[in-house]
């Protein structure tokens, strides 16, 4: 059945949401505008920058290239789910420690890409860290510190 609107159920960071959503709505817009989870950012909106990266059923995706209706029934993790209240997790703390952000715009995506990497490879090689962050652009040119932060969090 083809429809332009659909009711979807999505579990994000442990909370289940049921919402009516237009088929044309991108997942990033659904998360930010409908659910007010504004941690995930929209940078380029062309699938290049990675600021909208989140985990959908454990898989790292760019949520500007996925429709919200495609996440029906899925478990989604965004940057808001990383900390325990005000307590930063190990990776976030490492970003702070290593000055791995300047303006912070790319940080939610960087954190989710690094989270996906460390889950799959708890002790990644230097090259694996660089490859894992390839889909995330930082325009403050802070790549070196981001790399250091991920490396330190992995150890």
């Amino acid at each position: 059945m083809i429809s332009t609107e659909q009711t979807i159920t999505v579990t994000i960071n442990g909370t289940t949401y049921e919402r009516e959503v237009a088929a044309r709505k991108l997942l990033i817009h659904f998360v930010r505008d409908d659910l007010d989870l504004t941690g995930s950012h929209i940078g380029c909106d062309t699938g290049n920058c990675g600021a909208c990266s989140m985990l959908v059923d454990g898989t790292l995706v760019k949520s500007c290239m996925m429709l919200a209706v495609q996440a029906d029934g899925a478990t989604v993790e965004t940057v808001e789910g990383l900390s325990d209240g005000d307590e930063l997790n190990r990776l976030q703390a490492s970003f702070r420690e290593h000055h791995a952000l300047q303006c912070g715009y790319c940080t939610p995506g960087m954190l989710m890409s690094a989270t996906a990497l460390l889950r799959e490879k708890p002790s990644p090689s230097d090259d694996e860290i660089r490859k894992a962050l390839q889909g995330n652009i930082c325009r403050c040119t802070g790549y070196w510190n981001i790399f250091e932060a991920v490396k330190a969090a992995a150890q």
Partner: protein, 267 residues
């Protein structure tokens, strides 16, 4: 970016998907969406409805037959191919998939989407042409299987007609394969590419030089024969901001020789 209003359906069977695509001329199959969603944002394409193939399990997965023939479901993602032990029967496929864009794109993008898009800058059309892959297309009247030469028809155009779905890509056994590309930055948009296979005879497929992969068959794997075969093909690549026609033609020869050398080393 807000997309134009669009209908959506997520069928769970191939038959249902074909029925939905046949029922509406404005309906388009949605594979990984890593091209189509952006095309829709730019209004370069505005389908009336998206028929999402992600719910059809039979389109996913990799099978390796006893004779070494590899069958890859059209909805298999690049990441699944990279991680697949079966796909290593023809290692170049995983090696090339690992060079496509980035982790996020590889997690969503599919082999079927890549070749059905037939963007001349995509890696997989020339690779499939060089490997002698065949494509199986399903429609209301059943299935048909076509060669790469029959499949790739033009820029963004393949033999998959309205109301049809690419179901799988079949790659014959072989190991002597190579691929070389010059891209904008590591793993970025392709300026020129060449895929080669030296399993018995030598086959080279050039990407980014024409609307479809240009296949040439050098007399031998020697660099002179590879260059001569490309000269004889008389390619006339497009010019753009990244490379002139002459530079693309030059790159084609350089990359073809590299791909053939890699193929010989792997054979």
């Amino acid at each position: 970016m807000l997309l134009r209003e669009v209908g959506y359906a997520r069928p769970s069977s191939l038959a249902e998907a074909i029925e939905l695509l046949r029922a509406d001329d404005g309906a388009r199959a949605l594979a990984g969406g890593q091209t189509l969603i952006n095309v829709m944002k730019a209004r370069a394409g505005s389908p009336d409805a998206l028929i999402d193939l992600n719910g059809i399990d039979s389109l996913r997965g990799i099978d390796l037959a006893a004779d070494g023939t590899l069958s890859i479901g059209a909805m298999t993602t690049y990441s699944e191919i990279v991680a697949s032990a079966e796909a290593r029967a023809r290692p170049i496929i995983g090696e090339v998939c690992a060079q496509i864009a980035d982790v996020q794109v590889r997690n969503r993008g599919t082999i079927g989407g890549n070749i059905c898009t037939n963007d001349p800058t995509n890696h997989l059309p020339p690779l499939m042409a060089a490997l002698g892959a065949t494509m199986t297309i399903a429609g209301a009247d059943g299935e048909r299987t076509v060669t790469a030469g029959e499949f790739f028809l033009g820029v963004y155009l393949t033999a998959v007609a309205q109301g049809e779905v690419l179901t799988k890509v079949t790659v014959p056994a072989g190991r002597g394969d190579g691929f070389a590309a010059v891209t904008l930055g590591v793993d970025g948009t392709c300026i020129a590419s060449a895929a080669a296979s030296v399993n018995g005879s030598v086959t080279v497929a050039l990407g980014c030089v024409d609307a479809v992969p240009v296949v040439v068959e050098p007399a031998s794997a020697s660099a002179d024969d590879v260059r001569a075969a490309i000269e004889a093909a008389g390619i006339d690549p497009p010019s753009d901001v990244h490379a002139s026609s002459a530079y693309r033609a030059h790159l084609s020869q350089v990359l073809a020789v590299r791909a053939v050398n890699q193929a010989q080393g792997a054979a």
